[in-house]
């Protein structure tokens, strides 16, 4: 056999470490991203992350679209909790345009956002379980994510990429089925979550796989721009819902759970606790929504004819409505000039929108602050010196969503 058949890269014989390509389409990465690991035996010496495999140039596209056409783009950031992205975008527009939403709209939004947070944390935590060898929890809680999706479906008609809500409110009022399903969720889910916790929290195998793995100190976490559950697991009680309340979060009573070590186990516990808090917020919000009676119970959007599509029957019968309908659909509404930064507490951290308007019909510049794009940088620091199997768990417990990372 001639030596031309196998061409080894230069220096590869002398090399004492192994290079392993994890991704971009490896099942354990849970998304399209690549990690080039340098391994000494099974220990990680260094990692290099490559992202951008599903970059779709959302920021560029957004510069050419009227506001209502940007909502579907935000769906595709963190697609495990699209409604939060949608609401974050509507809130940004409302801040720029000076739209004030009625209280009932705020509470309905809180319901949708907290449902989305539960479904996001549910996926993340159950995937941590899958990666540590416990498939059962994942399959068990999927039923309840399904129920959450059914509630979305009643409100907006779609399930994953929801495009839910409009500037000023919702596209339609919540129907009775939505409320019944929400009640069903509130009745049944606590028992399921308890059982889910029982499966993992004191499970010897799970604890040994996650404790002390991927730990980060509060200082380093802040320096790396961590937000959301990952930062709180390191012991910093920063939550956008509390520090800069939006959508009337100040009307609700809830705690911010924090961890101490910032390892995978703490991240898991913080997410679980947050689900309990979300349940409590949901109950409060549901009660508040039910207090609206009569005509107040029909309020589901603010009165902003410039941005909120009129009802179809009005479009056919009223001149005014027809004009607004046409102008909105054709994107002929001019916005006030200005720049605004607005953020919401997304499923995995502070999701920010930096919006510059020059007074035209589309944003002059729109930048998404995508939490997992920012904290994925810390991956090398989190995994250096640990085992290959730990690298997988760290990845899933950070809740990395490729769609959000690549925008």
């Amino acid at each position: 056999m001639s030596e031309q058949h196998i061409k080894l890269p230069e220096g590869s014989i002398e090399k004492t470490t192994t290079t392993l390509n994890l991704g971009p389409t490896h099942p354990a990465t849970h998304g399209v991203m690549q990690n080039i690991l340098e391994l000494d035996g099974e220990r990680i010496v260094s990692t290099e992350q490559t992202i951008g495999y599903i970059h779709r140039a959302f920021e560029k596209i957004a510069e050419h679209r009227p506001l209502y056409q940007i909502t579907p783009l935000t769906d595709r950031l963190n697609y495990c909790s699209s409604p939060i992205n949608n609401m974050g975008w509507h809130l940004t527009c409302e801040k720029l345009l000076g739209v004030k939403t009625p209280k009932r709209v705020d509470y309905l939004r809180v319901i949708i956002m907290e449902l989305a947070r539960i479904s996001d944390h549910l996926i993340c935590n159950s995937i941590v379980g899958v990666d540590s060898g416990a498939y059962t929890g994942f399959l068990y809680v999927m039923q309840y994510r399904e129920l959450i999706y059914e509630i979305y479906e009643e409100v907006c008609g779609s399930r994953l990429t929801t495009n839910i809500g409009r500037i000023g409110g919702f596209e339609r009022n919540f129907n009775d089925i939505a409320f019944q399903k929400l009640q069903k969720f509130l009745d049944e889910y606590p028992r399921v979550l308890k059982e889910f916790e029982n499966l993992f929290t004191r499970n010897r195998i799970f604890m040994e796989r996650t404790m002390g793995v991927g730990a980060i100190s509060a200082d380093r976490a802040l320096n790396y721009g961590f937000t959301g559950p990952n930062l709180r697991a390191a012991g910093v009680d920063y939550d956008v819902r509390v520090t800069s309340p939006y959508s009337s979060y100040e009307d609700f009573q809830f705690d911010i759970p924090v961890g101490t070590t910032g390892d995978c186990y703490d991240r898991f516990l913080v997410r679980n606790q947050e689900m309990w808090q979300s349940l409590s917020i949901l109950e409060q919000a549901f009660k508040k929504v039910q207090e609206f009676k009569g005509a107040e119970a029909d309020v589901y959007h603010a009165d902003v004819p410039e941005y909120y599509l009129p009802e179809k029957k009005d479009v056919y019968t009223k001149m005014e409505a027809l004009i607004w309908h046409f102008k909105i659909i054709m994107g002929e509404i001019e916005m006030p000039a200005g720049e605004v930064y607005s953020s919401v507490e997304g499923g995995n951290g502070e999701l920010g929108f930096y919006f510059i308007s020059d007074g035209g019909r589309t944003p002059y510049r729109l930048h998404f602050r995508r939490p997992c794009f920012i904290y994925y940088q810390a991956y090398e620091e989190l995994t250096k010196g640990s085992m290959l199997s730990d690298a997988i768990i760290v990845m899933s417990s950070l809740n990395l969503i490729a769609g959000e990372m690549d925008a």
Partner: protein, 196 residues
């Protein structure tokens, strides 16, 4: 005592006198700019000062203003003081011909990828960055796509070969040879009408 925008402004003007300019408060967020040579000095001051404590870099991004002479590109930092819960926005401008700005990676580890992203989209050269290469786009790309001179692809263009999606094309689906020769565009439509 909570930190107010007025106090921040005062501290900054005490330290940098007339170098820090353009104070504004759009939607309540204090916004100001500084010459690009000073960006690290300002960021360091904001970070270290015992009163200001802006130690969290929320966001870093670029903006392109093609009409502003010698100030075509902007780098925008969003900083957050978590103790007092105050946010500020800090901008530096640079010319597009020599877009060099000092890197903030020494101060914030989070700036690493955000600066790479800004370089990727706007071509801002962060001096001293440990690994300044493209992050979201392919390495072979030879332009900076978020600059305003690059338009979004025209949705109505016809030179693309995507007849599978019902838009013209080179293979000529729907223009197959018949006994009478190839159908022209107008004939195709009229044939349909005749059948109906």
């Amino acid at each position: 005592m909570a930190l107010t925008n007025e106090q921040i402004k005062q501290r900054l003007t005490e330290k940098f006198i007339d170098q820090v300019t353009g104070f504004e408060e759009p939607y309540g967020m204090l916004t100001f700019e500084a010459p690009k040579e000073l960006n690290l000095k300002v960021l360091n001051f904001l970070f270290d000062d015992e009163e200001l404590k802006f130690r969290f870099l929320t966001d870093l991004c670029g903006v392109h203003y093609p009409d502003a002479k010698e100030k075509e590109l902007a780098v925008v930092y969003h900083l957050h003081n978590l103790a007092d819960n105050v946010r500020i926005r800090f901008k530096v401008f640079t010319s597009i011909n020599k877009p060099d700005v000092y890197t903030a990676t020494g101060l914030f580890s989070s700036a690493n990828w955000m600066e790479r992203e800004t370089y990727d989209f706007y071509g801002i050269n962060f001096v001293g960055h440990p690994n300044l290469k493209r992050i979201l786009n392919v390495d072979e790309m030879d332009y900076f796509p978020m600059r305003k001179q690059y338009p979004l692809e025209d949705q109505t263009r016809v030179d693309k070969d995507d007849e599978m999606f019902g838009r013209g094309g080179t293979l000529g689906y729907g223009t197959e040879k018949t006994d009478h020769g190839t159908l022209t565009e107008s004939e195709k439509h009229s044939v349909g009408e005749n059948i109906i």
